[in-house]
Protein backbone atom coordinates (compact mmCIF):
# COMPACT_ATOMS: atom_id res chain seq x y z
CA UNK A 1 0.00 0.00 0.00
CA UNK A 2 1.40 3.42 -0.91
CA UNK A 3 2.46 5.67 1.95
CA UNK A 4 1.42 8.80 0.05
CA UNK A 5 -1.37 9.01 -2.48
CA UNK A 6 -2.17 12.19 -4.40
CA UNK A 7 -5.11 12.16 -6.83
CA UNK A 8 -6.01 14.97 -9.24
CA UNK A 9 -4.61 17.67 -6.98
CA UNK A 10 -5.50 21.20 -8.03
CA UNK A 11 -4.52 24.41 -6.30
CA UNK A 12 -4.76 27.96 -7.54
CA UNK A 13 -3.77 31.28 -6.02
CA UNK A 14 -5.53 34.57 -6.71
CA UNK A 15 -3.08 35.43 -9.49
CA UNK A 16 -2.33 32.01 -11.01
CA UNK A 17 -2.96 28.30 -11.09
CA UNK A 18 -0.03 26.67 -9.29
CA UNK A 19 -1.10 23.05 -9.61
CA UNK A 20 -3.40 22.07 -12.48
CA UNK A 21 -3.73 18.31 -12.13
CA UNK A 22 -1.18 16.24 -10.22
CA UNK A 23 -1.46 12.58 -9.27
CA UNK A 24 1.21 10.21 -7.95
CA UNK A 25 1.86 7.79 -5.16
CA UNK A 26 4.93 7.15 -3.05
CA UNK A 27 5.95 3.73 -1.76
CA UNK A 28 7.32 3.19 1.71
CA UNK A 29 11.12 3.28 1.87
CA UNK A 30 11.85 4.96 -1.46
CA UNK A 31 13.38 8.30 -2.37
CA UNK A 32 10.69 9.87 -4.49
CA UNK A 33 11.77 12.85 -6.57
CA UNK A 34 9.58 15.75 -7.62
CA UNK A 35 11.46 17.36 -10.44
CA UNK A 36 10.63 20.49 -12.36
CA UNK A 37 11.69 24.00 -13.25
CA UNK A 38 11.08 26.92 -10.91
CA UNK A 39 7.37 27.75 -10.72
CA UNK A 40 6.29 24.34 -12.02
CA UNK A 41 4.17 23.70 -8.92
CA UNK A 42 6.53 21.44 -6.96
CA UNK A 43 6.50 23.36 -3.70
CA UNK A 44 2.74 23.90 -3.75
CA UNK A 45 2.29 20.16 -4.26
CA UNK A 46 4.37 19.21 -1.23
CA UNK A 47 2.86 22.02 0.84
CA UNK A 48 -0.56 20.50 0.18
CA UNK A 49 0.59 17.04 1.19
CA UNK A 50 2.09 18.44 4.39
CA UNK A 51 -1.23 20.07 5.27
CA UNK A 52 0.18 23.59 4.96
CA UNK A 53 -2.23 24.47 2.17
CA UNK A 54 -5.80 23.51 1.42
CA UNK A 55 -6.19 22.02 -2.08
CA UNK A 56 -8.98 23.40 -4.29
CA UNK A 57 -9.86 19.88 -5.33
CA UNK A 58 -8.46 16.38 -5.52
CA UNK A 59 -7.59 14.05 -2.70
CA UNK A 60 -4.45 13.46 -0.67
CA UNK A 61 -3.75 10.67 1.74
CA UNK A 62 -0.48 10.56 3.68
CA UNK A 63 0.07 7.61 6.04
CA UNK A 64 -3.66 7.03 5.68
CA UNK A 65 -4.35 10.52 7.05
CA UNK A 66 -5.98 13.59 5.55
CA UNK A 67 -3.28 16.30 5.78
CA UNK A 68 -5.77 19.08 6.59
CA UNK A 69 -8.11 17.29 8.97
CA UNK A 70 -5.49 15.18 10.75
CA UNK A 71 -2.76 17.80 10.72
CA UNK A 72 -1.39 17.25 14.20
CA UNK A 73 -1.37 13.47 13.86
CA UNK A 74 0.38 13.79 10.49
CA UNK A 75 3.01 16.19 11.79
CA UNK A 76 3.96 13.69 14.50
CA UNK A 77 5.00 11.31 11.71
CA UNK A 78 6.14 13.58 8.87
CA UNK A 79 9.25 15.74 9.10
CA UNK A 80 9.78 18.72 6.84
CA UNK A 81 12.53 20.91 5.55
CA UNK A 82 11.17 24.07 3.99
CA UNK A 83 12.59 26.03 1.13
CA UNK A 84 12.54 29.42 2.82
CA UNK A 85 12.50 29.31 6.55
CA UNK A 86 14.86 30.57 9.17
CA UNK A 87 15.38 30.18 12.86
CA UNK A 88 15.84 33.05 15.31
CA UNK A 89 19.30 34.55 14.72
CA UNK A 90 20.59 33.97 18.21
CA UNK A 91 19.22 30.49 18.70
CA UNK A 92 22.01 27.98 19.27
CA UNK A 93 22.14 24.73 17.30
CA UNK A 94 21.67 22.49 20.35
CA UNK A 95 18.84 24.70 21.64
CA UNK A 96 17.02 24.46 18.33
CA UNK A 97 17.15 20.66 18.45
CA UNK A 98 16.01 20.49 22.08
CA UNK A 99 13.20 22.95 21.34
CA UNK A 100 11.93 21.00 18.35
CA UNK A 101 12.33 17.71 20.25
CA UNK A 102 9.90 19.03 22.88
CA UNK A 103 7.16 19.29 20.23
CA UNK A 104 7.02 15.53 19.60
CA UNK A 105 5.74 12.61 21.65
CA UNK A 106 8.64 10.32 20.79
CA UNK A 107 11.58 12.47 19.63
CA UNK A 108 15.00 11.29 18.48
CA UNK A 109 18.02 11.96 20.68
CA UNK A 110 19.29 15.47 19.83
CA UNK A 111 22.88 14.48 20.66
CA UNK A 112 22.80 11.55 18.24
CA UNK A 113 21.43 13.74 15.45
CA UNK A 114 24.10 16.36 16.07
CA UNK A 115 26.67 13.65 15.72
CA UNK A 116 25.12 12.10 12.59
CA UNK A 117 24.92 15.45 10.86
CA UNK A 118 28.43 16.51 11.91
CA UNK A 119 27.16 19.45 13.92
CA UNK A 120 28.56 18.49 17.32
CA UNK A 121 31.32 21.10 17.22
CA UNK A 122 28.75 23.71 16.15
CA UNK A 123 26.32 22.93 18.97
CA UNK A 124 26.91 26.28 20.73
CA UNK A 125 26.95 28.40 17.56
CA UNK A 126 24.19 30.88 16.84
CA UNK A 127 22.03 30.08 13.81
CA UNK A 128 23.12 33.32 12.12
CA UNK A 129 26.78 32.30 12.29
CA UNK A 130 26.32 28.98 10.48
CA UNK A 131 27.42 28.49 6.88
CA UNK A 132 24.87 27.60 4.22
CA UNK A 133 25.77 23.91 4.42
CA UNK A 134 25.58 23.91 8.22
CA UNK A 135 22.17 25.59 8.13
CA UNK A 136 20.94 22.92 5.72
CA UNK A 137 22.32 20.14 7.93
CA UNK A 138 20.56 21.68 10.93
CA UNK A 139 17.37 21.88 8.92
CA UNK A 140 17.69 18.16 8.06
CA UNK A 141 18.28 17.43 11.75
CA UNK A 142 15.10 19.34 12.64
CA UNK A 143 13.18 17.44 9.98
CA UNK A 144 14.32 14.17 11.60
CA UNK A 145 14.01 15.14 15.28
CA UNK A 146 10.46 13.78 15.55
CA UNK A 147 11.51 10.29 14.36
CA UNK A 148 9.35 10.67 11.22
CA UNK A 149 8.28 7.96 8.79
CA UNK A 150 8.38 10.44 5.92
CA UNK A 151 10.78 13.33 5.37
CA UNK A 152 9.94 16.03 2.83
CA UNK A 153 13.03 17.90 1.65
CA UNK A 154 12.35 20.95 -0.52
CA UNK A 155 15.25 22.34 -2.58
CA UNK A 156 17.65 21.13 0.04
CA UNK A 157 20.83 21.67 -1.91
CA UNK A 158 20.02 24.98 -3.59
CA UNK A 159 22.76 27.47 -2.84
CA UNK A 160 25.25 24.89 -1.61
CA UNK A 161 28.73 24.47 -3.06
CA UNK A 162 29.52 21.17 -4.86
CA UNK A 163 31.17 19.62 -1.80
CA UNK A 164 28.32 20.49 0.52
CA UNK A 165 25.86 19.17 -2.07
CA UNK A 166 27.59 15.82 -2.21
CA UNK A 167 27.65 15.69 1.59
CA UNK A 168 23.92 16.37 1.60
CA UNK A 169 23.37 13.55 -0.92
CA UNK A 170 25.11 11.08 1.37
CA UNK A 171 22.93 12.27 4.23
CA UNK A 172 19.76 11.77 2.19
CA UNK A 173 20.83 8.22 1.30
CA UNK A 174 21.55 7.66 4.97
CA UNK A 175 18.04 8.82 5.88
CA UNK A 176 16.52 6.39 3.37
CA UNK A 177 18.74 3.56 4.63
CA UNK A 178 17.45 4.17 8.16
CA UNK A 179 13.95 3.34 6.88
CA UNK A 180 12.53 6.83 6.35
CA UNK A 181 10.67 7.49 3.11
CA UNK A 182 12.07 10.61 1.45
CA UNK A 183 10.20 13.00 -0.82
CA UNK A 184 12.81 15.14 -2.52
CA UNK A 185 11.86 18.31 -4.35
CA UNK A 186 14.58 19.52 -6.67
CA UNK A 187 15.36 21.18 -9.94
CA UNK A 188 18.82 19.59 -10.19
CA UNK A 189 18.92 16.75 -12.70
CA UNK A 190 22.17 15.23 -11.42
CA UNK A 191 20.75 15.14 -7.92
CA UNK A 192 17.53 13.45 -9.02
CA UNK A 193 19.39 10.95 -11.19
CA UNK A 194 21.78 10.00 -8.42
CA UNK A 195 19.33 9.79 -5.52
CA UNK A 196 15.79 9.06 -6.62
CA UNK A 197 14.19 5.65 -7.02
CA UNK A 198 11.34 7.21 -8.96
CA UNK A 199 10.73 10.70 -10.27
CA UNK A 200 7.62 12.68 -11.10
CA UNK A 201 8.47 15.34 -13.67
CA UNK A 202 6.18 18.30 -13.10
CA UNK A 203 5.72 21.06 -15.63
CA UNK A 204 3.16 23.88 -15.53
CA UNK A 205 1.21 22.20 -12.75
CA UNK A 206 0.91 18.77 -14.39
CA UNK A 207 2.80 15.48 -14.16
CA UNK A 208 4.53 15.04 -17.52
CA UNK A 209 6.16 11.73 -16.74
CA UNK A 210 6.60 9.41 -13.78
CA UNK A 211 9.24 6.70 -13.86
CA UNK A 212 12.62 5.58 -12.60
CA UNK A 213 15.52 7.78 -13.76
CA UNK A 214 16.52 5.00 -16.20
CA UNK A 215 12.94 4.68 -17.42
CA UNK A 216 12.68 8.42 -18.06
CA UNK A 217 15.92 8.41 -20.07
CA UNK A 218 14.78 5.36 -22.04
CA UNK A 219 11.41 6.91 -22.89
CA UNK A 220 13.05 10.10 -24.03
CA UNK A 221 15.80 8.22 -25.87
CA UNK A 222 18.49 10.18 -24.08
CA UNK A 223 21.56 9.18 -22.10
CA UNK A 224 21.34 11.70 -19.28
CA UNK A 225 18.39 12.80 -17.17
CA UNK A 226 19.24 16.35 -18.11
CA UNK A 227 18.65 15.65 -21.82
CA UNK A 228 15.65 13.48 -21.02
CA UNK A 229 14.09 16.34 -19.07
CA UNK A 230 14.55 18.78 -21.92
CA UNK A 231 13.08 16.31 -24.40
CA UNK A 232 10.14 15.46 -22.12
CA UNK A 233 9.26 19.05 -21.37
CA UNK A 234 9.51 19.79 -25.07
CA UNK A 235 11.49 22.96 -24.70
CA UNK A 236 14.50 23.03 -26.91
Amino acid sequence: MPIVEVKNLRKSYPDKIAVEDVSFHVERGEIFGILGTNGAGKTTTVECLQGLREPDSGSISVLGLDPRKDRDALHERLGAQLQESELPEKLKVSEALKLYASFYRDPADPEKLLDQLALTDKRDSYFKNLSGGQKQRLSIALALIGNPEIAVLDELTTGLDPHARRDAWKLIEGIRDSGVTVILVTHFMDEAQRLCDRIAVIEAGRVLALDTPAGLMHTAGETTLDDAFVTLTGRN
Binding site: H75, L82, E86, L87, K90, L91, E95, K98, L99, S102
Partner: protein, 242 residues
Protein backbone atom coordinates in the same frame (compact mmCIF):
# COMPACT_ATOMS: atom_id res chain seq x y z
CA UNK B 1 10.32 19.87 29.60
CA UNK B 2 7.10 20.04 27.61
CA UNK B 3 6.64 22.21 24.54
CA UNK B 4 5.28 25.22 26.44
CA UNK B 5 7.99 25.44 29.10
CA UNK B 6 10.71 24.71 26.53
CA UNK B 7 9.38 27.43 24.23
CA UNK B 8 9.09 29.92 27.09
CA UNK B 9 12.61 29.14 28.33
CA UNK B 10 14.00 29.45 24.79
CA UNK B 11 12.19 32.73 24.10
CA UNK B 12 13.43 34.12 27.43
CA UNK B 13 17.00 33.15 26.57
CA UNK B 14 16.65 34.82 23.18
CA UNK B 15 15.39 38.06 24.72
CA UNK B 16 18.28 38.03 27.19
CA UNK B 17 20.66 37.79 24.23
CA UNK B 18 19.14 40.87 22.63
CA UNK B 19 18.39 42.71 25.83
CA UNK B 20 17.54 46.17 24.48
CA UNK B 21 13.75 45.84 24.90
CA UNK B 22 14.12 44.09 28.20
CA UNK B 23 16.31 46.85 29.64
CA UNK B 24 14.18 49.57 28.09
CA UNK B 25 10.96 48.03 29.43
CA UNK B 26 12.35 47.77 32.94
CA UNK B 27 14.26 51.06 33.18
CA UNK B 28 12.28 53.44 30.97
CA UNK B 29 9.38 54.33 33.31
CA UNK B 30 11.75 54.99 36.23
CA UNK B 31 14.12 57.06 34.10
CA UNK B 32 11.23 59.17 32.78
CA UNK B 33 9.92 59.65 36.32
CA UNK B 34 13.36 60.77 37.49
CA UNK B 35 13.76 63.15 34.57
CA UNK B 36 10.31 64.71 34.93
CA UNK B 37 10.58 64.80 38.71
CA UNK B 38 13.70 66.95 38.44
CA UNK B 39 11.88 69.67 36.54
CA UNK B 40 11.27 72.41 39.12
CA UNK B 41 7.73 72.40 40.41
CA UNK B 42 6.85 68.89 39.31
CA UNK B 43 7.49 67.50 42.74
CA UNK B 44 5.48 70.13 44.61
CA UNK B 45 1.73 70.30 45.23
CA UNK B 46 -0.08 72.01 42.38
CA UNK B 47 -2.48 74.73 43.59
CA UNK B 48 -2.98 72.91 46.83
CA UNK B 49 -3.79 69.61 45.06
CA UNK B 50 -1.60 66.53 44.65
CA UNK B 51 1.85 66.78 43.13
CA UNK B 52 2.21 66.31 39.40
CA UNK B 53 4.40 63.22 39.75
CA UNK B 54 1.92 61.55 42.12
CA UNK B 55 -0.84 61.75 39.55
CA UNK B 56 1.34 61.03 36.57
CA UNK B 57 3.09 57.90 37.89
CA UNK B 58 0.26 55.51 36.85
CA UNK B 59 0.53 56.91 33.32
CA UNK B 60 4.11 55.66 33.26
CA UNK B 61 2.78 52.16 33.84
CA UNK B 62 0.49 52.69 30.86
CA UNK B 63 3.55 53.76 28.88
CA UNK B 64 5.49 50.57 29.72
CA UNK B 65 2.63 48.17 29.20
CA UNK B 66 1.69 49.79 25.89
CA UNK B 67 5.26 49.83 24.60
CA UNK B 68 5.71 46.15 25.40
CA UNK B 69 2.26 44.99 24.34
CA UNK B 70 1.79 47.07 21.22
CA UNK B 71 5.34 47.36 19.91
CA UNK B 72 7.85 44.87 21.29
CA UNK B 73 5.63 41.79 21.24
CA UNK B 74 3.71 42.20 17.95
CA UNK B 75 6.84 43.26 16.08
CA UNK B 76 8.72 40.27 17.48
CA UNK B 77 5.96 37.81 16.53
CA UNK B 78 5.51 39.37 13.10
CA UNK B 79 9.26 39.19 12.43
CA UNK B 80 8.98 35.45 13.14
CA UNK B 81 6.25 35.31 10.51
CA UNK B 82 8.31 37.35 8.06
CA UNK B 83 11.36 35.12 8.39
CA UNK B 84 9.40 31.89 8.00
CA UNK B 85 10.05 30.86 11.60
CA UNK B 86 6.31 30.40 12.15
CA UNK B 87 6.01 28.52 8.88
CA UNK B 88 8.66 26.09 10.06
CA UNK B 89 6.76 25.62 13.32
CA UNK B 90 3.61 24.93 11.29
CA UNK B 91 5.16 21.66 10.09
CA UNK B 92 5.45 20.40 13.68
CA UNK B 93 2.65 19.25 16.00
CA UNK B 94 3.11 22.23 18.34
CA UNK B 95 0.16 24.62 18.72
CA UNK B 96 0.55 28.38 18.11
CA UNK B 97 -1.00 28.99 21.55
CA UNK B 98 2.29 27.87 23.13
CA UNK B 99 4.29 30.64 21.49
CA UNK B 100 1.67 33.26 22.34
CA UNK B 101 1.56 32.21 26.00
CA UNK B 102 5.38 32.22 26.18
CA UNK B 103 5.61 35.70 24.65
CA UNK B 104 2.82 37.15 26.80
CA UNK B 105 4.44 35.69 29.92
CA UNK B 106 7.88 37.14 29.13
CA UNK B 107 6.55 40.62 28.33
CA UNK B 108 4.29 40.54 31.39
CA UNK B 109 7.36 39.77 33.51
CA UNK B 110 9.17 42.76 32.03
CA UNK B 111 6.12 44.98 32.70
CA UNK B 112 5.96 43.77 36.31
CA UNK B 113 9.68 44.38 36.81
CA UNK B 114 9.38 47.88 35.32
CA UNK B 115 6.39 48.67 37.54
CA UNK B 116 8.08 47.40 40.70
CA UNK B 117 11.17 49.47 39.95
CA UNK B 118 8.94 52.49 39.32
CA UNK B 119 7.26 52.02 42.71
CA UNK B 120 10.62 51.66 44.44
CA UNK B 121 12.28 54.63 42.71
CA UNK B 122 9.17 56.79 43.17
CA UNK B 123 9.04 55.90 46.84
CA UNK B 124 12.72 56.45 47.60
CA UNK B 125 13.42 59.53 45.46
CA UNK B 126 10.12 61.40 45.50
CA UNK B 127 8.28 59.91 48.47
CA UNK B 128 5.47 58.78 46.21
CA UNK B 129 3.43 56.46 48.40
CA UNK B 130 2.79 53.00 46.90
CA UNK B 131 -0.67 51.85 45.87
CA UNK B 132 -3.05 52.36 48.80
CA UNK B 133 -5.30 49.54 47.61
CA UNK B 134 -2.76 46.84 46.65
CA UNK B 135 -5.33 44.22 45.71
CA UNK B 136 -7.31 46.65 43.59
CA UNK B 137 -4.08 47.80 42.00
CA UNK B 138 -3.08 44.23 41.21
CA UNK B 139 -6.44 43.47 39.61
CA UNK B 140 -6.37 46.70 37.60
CA UNK B 141 -2.79 45.97 36.49
CA UNK B 142 -3.52 42.38 35.41
CA UNK B 143 -6.66 43.33 33.49
CA UNK B 144 -5.08 46.43 31.99
CA UNK B 145 -2.01 44.52 30.83
CA UNK B 146 -4.18 41.69 29.52
CA UNK B 147 -6.30 44.05 27.43
CA UNK B 148 -3.30 45.76 25.82
CA UNK B 149 -1.42 42.49 25.21
CA UNK B 150 -4.56 41.01 23.65
CA UNK B 151 -4.59 43.90 21.16
CA UNK B 152 -0.89 43.25 20.49
CA UNK B 153 -1.44 39.56 19.71
CA UNK B 154 -4.32 40.52 17.42
CA UNK B 155 -2.02 42.90 15.52
CA UNK B 156 0.58 40.12 15.21
CA UNK B 157 -2.10 37.73 13.99
CA UNK B 158 -3.32 40.03 11.25
CA UNK B 159 0.02 41.42 10.02
CA UNK B 160 2.28 39.65 7.57
CA UNK B 161 5.43 41.66 8.22
CA UNK B 162 6.94 43.35 11.26
CA UNK B 163 6.42 46.73 9.61
CA UNK B 164 2.74 46.18 9.10
CA UNK B 165 2.39 44.77 12.64
CA UNK B 166 3.98 47.94 13.94
CA UNK B 167 1.70 50.11 11.82
CA UNK B 168 -1.39 48.13 12.79
CA UNK B 169 -0.54 48.29 16.49
CA UNK B 170 -0.08 52.06 16.20
CA UNK B 171 -3.83 52.40 15.55
CA UNK B 172 -4.36 51.37 19.17
CA UNK B 173 -1.02 52.70 20.47
CA UNK B 174 -1.60 56.44 20.17
CA UNK B 175 -5.18 56.56 21.52
CA UNK B 176 -4.16 54.37 24.46
CA UNK B 177 -1.14 56.54 25.26
CA UNK B 178 -3.22 59.72 24.87
CA UNK B 179 -6.21 58.55 26.89
CA UNK B 180 -3.82 57.06 29.44
CA UNK B 181 -2.39 60.51 30.09
CA UNK B 182 1.11 59.73 28.89
CA UNK B 183 1.35 62.72 26.54
CA UNK B 184 -0.67 65.19 28.59
CA UNK B 185 -1.45 64.71 32.26
CA UNK B 186 -5.07 63.71 32.64
CA UNK B 187 -5.93 66.56 35.01
CA UNK B 188 -5.35 68.98 32.12
CA UNK B 189 -7.55 67.08 29.68
CA UNK B 190 -11.24 67.73 29.00
CA UNK B 191 -13.67 65.87 31.19
CA UNK B 192 -15.17 63.74 28.40
CA UNK B 193 -11.73 62.57 27.27
CA UNK B 194 -11.05 61.42 30.80
CA UNK B 195 -14.40 59.66 30.95
CA UNK B 196 -13.51 57.71 27.79
CA UNK B 197 -10.08 56.93 29.20
CA UNK B 198 -11.67 55.37 32.27
CA UNK B 199 -13.06 52.54 30.21
CA UNK B 200 -10.44 51.99 27.51
CA UNK B 201 -7.41 49.73 27.94
CA UNK B 202 -5.41 49.63 30.07
CA UNK B 203 -7.78 51.31 32.55
CA UNK B 204 -5.63 54.16 33.73
CA UNK B 205 -8.35 55.50 36.05
CA UNK B 206 -8.59 52.16 37.86
CA UNK B 207 -4.80 52.17 38.32
CA UNK B 208 -4.89 55.75 39.58
CA UNK B 209 -7.78 55.12 41.97
CA UNK B 210 -6.11 52.01 43.36
CA UNK B 211 -2.93 54.01 43.79
CA UNK B 212 -4.43 57.04 45.54
CA UNK B 213 -6.60 54.88 47.75
CA UNK B 214 -10.20 55.33 46.72
CA UNK B 215 -10.00 51.92 45.06
CA UNK B 216 -10.93 51.06 41.47
CA UNK B 217 -14.60 51.26 40.54
CA UNK B 218 -16.07 47.80 39.90
CA UNK B 219 -17.79 48.94 36.70
CA UNK B 220 -14.47 50.00 35.17
CA UNK B 221 -12.91 46.67 36.10
CA UNK B 222 -15.85 44.74 34.69
CA UNK B 223 -15.66 46.65 31.40
CA UNK B 224 -11.92 46.02 31.27
CA UNK B 225 -12.34 42.32 32.07
CA UNK B 226 -14.98 41.93 29.36
CA UNK B 227 -12.75 43.71 26.86
CA UNK B 228 -9.77 41.54 27.79
CA UNK B 229 -11.78 38.33 27.48
CA UNK B 230 -13.24 39.41 24.13
CA UNK B 231 -10.00 40.58 22.57
CA UNK B 232 -8.11 37.59 23.98
CA UNK B 233 -10.60 35.19 22.40
CA UNK B 234 -10.43 37.00 19.08
CA UNK B 235 -6.62 37.14 19.13
CA UNK B 236 -6.29 33.45 20.02
CA UNK B 237 -8.74 32.49 17.27
CA UNK B 238 -7.03 34.54 14.59
CA UNK B 239 -3.36 33.81 15.33
CA UNK B 240 -2.17 31.15 12.92
CA UNK B 241 1.23 29.82 11.99
CA UNK B 242 0.57 30.85 8.37
Amino acid sequence: MNALTRLAATELKLSLRTPMWLILGILFPSVVLLAVGMIPGMDRPYEGGPRFIDVWAPSLIVLTVTMLGLQTMPVHLASYREKGILRRLATTPVSPANLIIAQVAINAMIAVAGTVLLLVVGGIVFDIPGPQDPLGFLIAFVLGTGSVFGLGVLAAALARTSRSASALAMIAYFPIMFLGGVYLPRQFMPEFVNRVGEFTPPGVQALQDAWTGTGPQPLQLIVLAAFTAGIGFLAARSFRWE
